[in-house]
Every structure is written in structure tokens, then in C-alpha cells.
Subunit: 437 residues, 2 copies
């Protein structure tokens, strides 16, 4: 293993020197532990190009101008290979278009706004289906013309529906839509914290409720979404929830602080068997940068340290494939073989999360080791996932880094992780370079 | 491609010569298109050894003498890595133990009978849970002490429950148990042919009912199970169902007879999108030998030809990896990339089905090309799946044939496909060699 980030004084004491090196403009001064501004600029340019490329790909190939919404199953060359519309991906694409439109000058284009509005209208018209409990559930998958085909007994379709509606309301100024997002959020909170029976899962004696990391992560992400830049009373409304989410996420630090486990008991204890030992390094890294955002907003230095040491460094140490590079999809903390057939594959999204996490951790601390990690993940990611022939990124590689599934969009890969990562990294690099200027 | 099986006269006209070659005892006479009796004997001995080895492995490691039933999550070296009990695998293990006990002299041992009875008792006590419709559903997964943890909204747990109960009743003579199997069978038939709402799936407008090959295959398998050697009135009772199952399976021959597709419409037409184009070569091969059994019982020469040409030869031609050997798990008939992450992996069970299918097809026709195919699949299978260190077989290889998941038992791999294949192949080789004697 290359030099780990060290806690406390030794790392801090090295910082001034390293920071000086960082902004040296001579490329030949680059050495282990230092990065030049040239490198930051090189990264920014490549990332900017990749983002433009990804946006162009989805604008060109994914819009269904006949029935509305977005095609999500898009082959290597842009051809639609299945017309089903996955609701997670509809919501995420609306959100991403709006976020780009709202916050990045070069994407403030009518065609992006129109696509986002069309996607939002499709979602509002078709995604919500009434469940047997009389509550609104969102479908997981729709036919091309909007007929519900599958409903998951989880909260995630609703989460991406809320993200889409809130972000869309920010660019259109539609207050009804914002209200709708908040109402759906109330429903979600009820399912998670009061009574989950509306989700439709039968209550079984062996099915003990658990704290699955995805749930507090998604809720925390939604709190960020709903409160960003809004009046104090909105932030106030969700303050206790945000704090609960952070605590729920922190419960996943297990084994005396040496591992992040994907599911724990409601009391924060390790669960038995495979479920209890499961690790998902990409997911832990994503939680890491969610926590880093909170720590920055709240100026909580302890949370920042925990986020970096436990949710960024640990998953990288455990999850990085020392032989072939890249992050494993799943691991078992005791080294048993996971039962997920795809456990050793290299997926695009954990690498996206790792890029965001390391660059954010570096931005907040200026510890050069974190930028070295970013560099390592960047090299693997940019050398393996982008498709130089047809644009956008492949999503699924073998352990050895060969493309295993060559489509650009599928049931779980849409216009989301790639552009979100590129967008966030570009902005962080902008800030880092601006400070230098 | 090496010589395909040809229909009709040319194949038949070559048969006498080939058959003469087949039973030449001099190994040096082995050539392309011929197999010596020495080869058959070599295969039988290896297969017999592998079967003994598999039985010994599961007898040694899988019995839960505290709570009853079988551990199904068993690591490479035999160690239990999860105590959950998967009901499909409980039922299959009871069935396999009983079948071996009942039909193979060397397995007629008290410890095998006792284990089967203990597994049956565990299933009867814990597997059935009452569903919201008041009908009996079987759980998919139980805790070690038998508490239901998950229920699938399909018929398969019930299918393996029936197989277990019927086969167990044959060795114990327990008529109540046989009756219970038949009653569960009535429930299944009702779900499949009359009203599936008891399975618990919500009716959604986009979720069009389909003919999924697994359903008629399982029912046909159960008809074979429930009628074998029983009085004429039992066979009579299920005759129409068997015929319906065969017709439902034959509907999966699509694209002018050039492909077997895994799901078709209820009218036997191709479905749109990925679902419609999906191929599962191992499953088609399994259907092939199910149909071959029916064709032999009914002396239906046309069904035999269809079974061999369409369900044995075609899936092999399409599904065999010309570069690395082995059968792909999933394919798309139009050559798109499947969306299943594991599509290009080599799983143990399709190879088990292929061995049975080719040896049965050869046994019934004596066409040497079919034995050549068997030989090819045999070489790949025996060279890649068995674990020379700790016994039993690995289940999951990468496309290139490297072990990707090293456990011997998992949520879907238990004491079933390996021993069923070895058991059936040993018996077929016994018959082939006995005829020579």
C-alpha cells in the first residue's frame, strides 16, 4: 500500500510544505506527494471535455419525442435496444439536466431545459401509482408509453422522483412542483421512520428490520436537495432528520472502526452471515462525500475526520484491487467470497464516487495524499471507462478491466453518475485553481 | 463449427458404421466421429468418482444436526459461511438423497435416508407459510431455526417442495406425504393456469402475462416425478397437463426455428425488447432433455427430432463460447449485450444440463456427432469445475474459465445439479455399456 493518510499531527505538520509544492507551476517538480497546477489544469480540461461529451450523447440519443421521457437502454453506438423506461433513471436525468442548466453557464441552453421539463411531465403523468395501502408509490419501470410494469418494495423510485421535482422547480419556479416534492418526502419519512407497511413487503418473522446504508444516505441527499439555498425555516424543518441520517450512517462503522459494513442492525450492531459482512466500497465512498458536505456546512471538524478516515480512506484501502486496479463492487469483510456473481467486476459508478470523494476530501483538507489517491483513481477511471469510439462511458468491466457489458445506458446506468461526477469534479477543480489565481 | 447433426436420411444411413466403430475396444481406433468403449468406460469411472465425491462432501458438511435441514452456504473447504437455509435447495437435497437411495445400490445407506427424512421434516415444519390470500406459499429463505425471511412471488419454492415430498414418500412409503405433494401440485396448477393472484404480484397495466420457459419446464418435471411408476390413474390425471407443458415449451422455438427464446407471449409470439430477445442456453438444453424423456415414453419420433435439433443442438451452437469454451449464461438473439451483469460467465449448471442432454440424445439416436458434443462439453466441464483440493465443484467461472466465486454452496447452488447430472450420466453410461456386454 502506498502511504496512508495519517491522523492528526504528522499529516497536519507536513501540510504547509506540500501545499507550497502543489501550486508550483513547473511540471518537472512533480514528485510523489506533490501535484502541480499543470496537473490540476490538465484534469480540469479532460473532465470538462468528458462532461460535454456525455451531455451531447444523452441529448442526441435518449429523448423520446413521441411519448415523452427518456430512453434509458442505449447501446454502445447510441441505438436504443429496449424501450422500457426505468423511473430511477428518468428522475436522475431530469435532476442532472436541471442542475447543469441552473449552475453551469455553458449548459444554460433551451434544449436542456425543454428536455428536463418534458422528462418531468412524463414522470408526473406516469410514475406515480396508487398502492394497495392508498399511498402513492412510484413504479420502478414503465413501458415506453408510460404503463407501470414493475413496482419495487423500496423507497428509491420515490427518492429520484423527489430529486427531479425539486430541482426542476428551481429552474421553472413552479411552487406546486416544489410542494409536491416535499409532500412525497413526508411520505418517505413516514415509511422509513414510522411505518413501512405501505411499501408492500410482507412482515415475516425471520426478516428483522435493518439499517441499510442506502436509506439514510438517500434521505440525507434529499435533505441537501430540498434545503440548498432555501429559507431558514425549510432547513429547520429537516434539521433533525439530517442529524438522524448522519447518525444512521455512522452506525455502519464497525469492527472497532476498521470497516464500513453495508447493513447493520437498528441498534447499530453487526448482523449475522453474508448480509452482515457485506461491503460495498463505492457506496461507502459516496457516503463519505455526503458526510463531507455536511461537515463543511456545519464546520464540524470531527465529522470531517471521520468521513475521510472511515468512509473515504478505509473503503479505498479495502476495496482497491491491488492486482488489476479499480474498485471491487462487493467484498466480504472476513474475506469469504461474496455471493453476488458480479462481486469482482469494476463498475463505473464506484469510481465516480471515489473521484468525488477524494477531490472533496483534498479540497477541504489540502492533504496531498488525498490528491495522490484522486490521481490514482483518475488514471484507472479515465483509462478504462470512456469509449473513445462512440463517446460516453462503459459501465461494467471484468476484474481485469476488459469491457464486459458495452451499453451506455441500461436498467441501472443512465445520465447520472458520470455527469454528476464530472460536474462536481470540474467545479472543485475550478475552485482549487481559482484560489491559486 | 464442427459437423452439425443432419436431419433424416444421411445421419441414419451412417449409423450402422458409426455404431460399429463406437464399440471398438482399441483406443487407438478413436478418431473424429468415433468413440471407443474404452472412452465410455473412462467417462463412467470418472463420473462415478465425482458423484461419490459430491455425496461425501454434502454428507460431511451440510447437515444441521441442531436445528434440522441443511446448510446451503458452504465455502470452498466445506465451512458454513452463512446459516440461512434456502428452500429451493432444501427441497432439492431431500429429493436427490432419496433418488440416490432409492435407485442406486451403493447409496442405499441409513445415513442418507436419515438425512433425507430430517430435511423433509424441516421443510414440512417450516417452509410453508400462509399467504395473504389464505393459500399455502413456501418461503424462499429461512433462518437457521426455520423462521421465514423471504417469500418469492413465483412458484419455484413450491415446486421443489413437491419434488422433495413425492420422492421422500417413495422411500418411506408415507402416503400422507404423497398426498400432500399432490395437493400442493393442485395449488400450483391453479396459480399457473387459472389465477396467479395468490402469488402476491400486483396486477400492473404494463406487466403483460408471459410464457416463461421455466414454468412449463418445472410443471413437466413435476408430472414426471408424480407419475413415474405409479398407477395408470395418476398418469391419466396429469396427461393433459403434460401435453400442455410440452406445447408451452415448444412455443419457445422462434425466429423460423432458428432460436430458442426464454420468454414469449401467451400466444407464442416474440416479446419486445431485451426480455423477448433473451436466450439462456443452459435452460434450453435442460428443456431439451425433459422433452427427450417425454419423447421416449411416448415413442414420439417427431418430438425427439425437435428436442434434439431445436433444444439441444441450437442452444449449443449459439451458446458455446468459440473463443474460450464453455456455455454463456445469457445471450441476446440479435447480438446486443445482455443487461445481466453475469451474462458471459460460465456457470456449472448449464454444463450439467448439456452433459445430460447430449448423452441422452446420443443414447436415443446413437448418432456419433452427439457423443462428440458430449465429449467436448465433458472435457470443458471436468477440466474447469471440479475442485481437486477440497472436492465438489466450483459453480461460477469467468468467461475465460477462471474461478470467480469459490464456494461450493450458495443461495442457488446446492446438492442438486452436480449430483443429478453425474447420477443420470452414470446410469446412461451403464446402459450403453451394458448393451455392449
Amino acid at each position: 500500500m502506498r502511504g496512508h493518510v495519517t491522523d492528526g499531527s504528522s499529516g497536519v505538520s507536513r501540510a504547509p510544505l506540500q501545499e507550497a509544492c502543489l501550486f508550483t507551476v513547473c511540471p518537472y517538480l512533480e514528485q510523489k506527494g506533490t501535484m502541480s497546477v499543470v496537473k490540476l489544469e490538465e484534469w480540469r480540461q479532460r473532465i470538462r471535455k468528458e462532461l460535454d461529451n456525455a451531455v451531447a450523447f444523452w441529448l442526441k440519443y435518449s429523448h423520446d419525442t413521441t411519448h415523452g421521457g427518456f430512453f434509458t437502454c442505449i447501446g454502445r453506438d447510441g441505438k436504443v435496444y429496449d424501450e422500457l423506461k426505468y423511473v430511477w433513471l428518468q428522475g436522475r436525468q431530469v435532476w442532472m439536466y436541471c442542475r447543469l442548466y441552473r449552475t453551469m453557464e455553458r449548459f444554460r441552453k433551451p434544449e436542456i431545459l425543454e428536455a428536463a421539463k418534458a422528462g418531468g411531465a412524463f414522470l408526473r403523468k406516469f410514475a406515480r401509482v396508487s398502492s394497495s395501502s392508498g399511498q402513492w408509490k412510484c413504479a420502478f419501470c414503465l413501458t415506453r408509453d408510460g404503463k407501470a410494469l414493475k413496482i419495487q418494495r423500496t423507497i428509491f423510485s420515490e427518492c429520484f422522483y423527489i430529486m427531479a421535482m425539486d430541482e426542476l422547480s428551481r429552474v421553472t419556479g413552479d411552487k406546486d412542483m416544489q410542494l409536491e416534492a416535499e409532500q412525497m418526502m413526508e411520505q418517505l419519512i413516514y415509511w422509513v421512520r414510522v411505518d413501512s407497511s405501505g411499501l408492500g413487503r410482507p412482515q415475516l418473522p425471520g426478516d428483522v428490520p435493518t439499517n441499510s446504508m442506502a436509506v439514510p444516505m438517500m434521505l440525507l441527499c434529499l435533505v441537501e436537495q430540498l434545503t440548498e439555498g432555501r429559507a431558514r425555516d425549510v432547513a429547520q424543518k429537516y434539521r433533525e432528520l439530517a442529524s438522524w441520517c448522519v447518525q444512521q450512517i455512522l452506525q455502519h462503522i464497525q469492527r472497532d472502526g476498521t470497516a464500513i459494513l453495508e447493513s447493520v442492525s437498528l441498534e447499530g450492531a453487526e448482523l449475522p452471515g453474508c448480509q452482515g459482512r457485506l461491503q460495498n466500497p463505492g457506496h461507502a465512498l459516496e457516503a463519505g462525500w455526503f458526510l463531507l458536505q455536511v461537515s463543511a456546512e456545519q464546520e464540524d471538524e470531527e465529522l470531517r475526520r471521520t468521513a475521510i478516515n472511515k468512509f473515504v480512506e478505509l473503503p479505498y484501502q479495502d476495496g482497491w484491487d491491488k492486482e488489476h486496479g479499480g474498485l471491487f463492487y462487493f467484498l466480504d469483510v472476513d474475506g469469504h467470497c461474496p455471493t453476488q456473481l458480479e462481486w469482482n467486476m469494476k463498475l463505473w459508478w464506484p469510481h465516480c464516487e471515489a473521484l468525488i470523494a477524494f477531490l472533496m476530501a483534498y479540497s477541504q483538507t489540502k492533504k496531498p495524499e488525498l490528491l495522490e489517491r484522486f490521481s490514482e483513481v483518475y488514471e484507472y477511471t479515465l483509462n478504462h471507462f470512456p469509449d473513445p469510439e462512440s463517446g460516453e462511458w462503459f459501465g461494467y468491466l471484468t476484474q481485469e478491466g476488459k469491457v464486459a457489458l458495452d451499453f451506455k445506458g441500461g436498467p441501472f446506468k443512465g445520465f447520472f453518475h458520470v455527469p454528476r461526477c464530472l460536474y462536481m469534479c470540474e467545479r472543485m477543480l475550478d475552485d482549487l485553481l481559482a484560489k491559486k489565481d
